[in-house]
Amino acid sequence: MWRGLVRTVVILGGLGAATGWVLTQATPLDDTALAGIDADPANGETVFTAAGCASCHAAPDAEGEAKLVLAGGQRFASDFGTFIAPNVSPHPEAGIGGWTLAEFASAVTRGVSPEGQHYYPAFPYAAYLHMTEQDVADLWAYWQTLPQDATPSEPHEVGFPFNIRRAVGVWKQLYMTDDWVMASAETDQIARGRYLVEALAHCGECHTPRDALGGLDRDAWLAGAPNPSGRGTIPSLTPDDLTWGSTEIAYYLETGFTPDFDSAGGHMVAVIANFTKLPASDREAVAAYLKALP
């Protein structure tokens, strides 16, 4: 009898481990994914700006045109270690110039590298997974127009146990979902705002609190959080706390001025530098979305 029980436990344990192994696999998209999409690099530039790619992947302290050189090197401190943005310029060796569209889409929307490894979620693929296939293809088309840079990527400074990449697979099972936080968007404008806030601009990454495993607490969506890389607090954007009018929110995103003409600081400066380049209708859409939050 005991032998039977042990055998059952071993079999169940083996099954569990096998299931875990499968569940935590990094599965790239099929090679043919996104094939046949007619890509528009001009829209790709808008996606690039709204998604804030350069804000993290440009060299530290890059200004102006230099922000388009995605050499990497910016450091992002966190509770799990320090992540260092890699070179993602179109350089064939130092950057990602040798990738296919499907590999790029796997990286951006699934957090999976061409080698089949999980990226750390400091890269906001849990937001980008909402990106439309058209936008991913357009973004990749625009990417090809960016300057190449030969600076080698630096390894992340992440210690045990967070350096076990396989564990990121568990994290993905827990926190990656196709569902929008705002389940229904009442108008087209709010839907556009939802796409900008929840997907491209990944506002929740800083404005939503995280649990012990670093996953976003979707029940406290955009309700403010401790600054992930430093002191202070990232403010709440829910209507109870952010009482600015829609035009004031849009003006802030355009100029960085609050309604009482204080000015933005910290990482929000980079966010505003992006939003100011987007059409006014996009800034208004973000305001409409924030006003529609519960």
């Binding site: 202070g232 035009t247 100029t255 960085g256 204080d262 600081g265 910290g266």
Partner: protein
């Protein structure tokens, strides 16, 4: 015009310069009186508040929220330039950063990268002079000029100011 009067007295450049001179004197006497730097904090935070109030006057006109008034716009722009001329060093003594004392969001980078801090302050002065030169020339010019001033504010806050608590 309400913004430019205080209890019925019109604030002129002369008054403003006098006030700045008095404020500067205040800093000098407070420096050795105590080391919580409360006088310096009031002074430097006050100068930013004066900036915000006057940017509000210009921004309201730029957005069309308030009616454009050349005289009021000029007075606000002149005030920005006046603030940009306040010497900064006495208001930023070593040890008055947010790691050392309460009540400030001034990051240690202000002291560690002081040349950068002062060069960004100088950029604000350049932007203020640009808006001073054109403020009376009509409402249309205000928007882009506000953008330039805002750019100077953000460039400095990006590095040197901690998020609010």
């Amino acid at each position: 015009m309400v913004e430019n009067t205080f209890q019925g007295v019109t604030i002129t450049m002369k008054h403003l310069k006098l006030a700045i001179a008095l404020a500067a004197l205040g800093c000098g006497t407070a420096a050795y009186a105590q080391d919580d730097f409360s006088a310096q904090l009031k002074a430097r935070q006050g100068q930013f508040r004066i900036m915000a109030i006057n940017l509000g006057i210009l921004g309201g006109m730029a957005q069309g929220k308030t009616e454009y008034n050349a005289e009021a716009a000029q007075a606000a722009a002149d005030t920005l330039v006046a603030v940009s001329m306040i010497q900064q060093a006495p208001m930023w003594p070593a040890g008055s950063d947010d790691m050392s004392i309460e009540g400030t969001r001034a990051q240690t980078t202000i002291w560690e990268q002081n040349d950068d801090f002062l060069s960004k302050w100088a950029d604000f002065g350049t932007a203020a002079k640009a808006i001073q030169a054109s403020a009376a020339g009509g409402q249309e010019a205000l928007g882009p000029l506000m953008g330039q001033v805002g750019g100077a504010c953000k460039a400095c806050h990006d590095t040197h100011r901690a998020p609010a608590n």
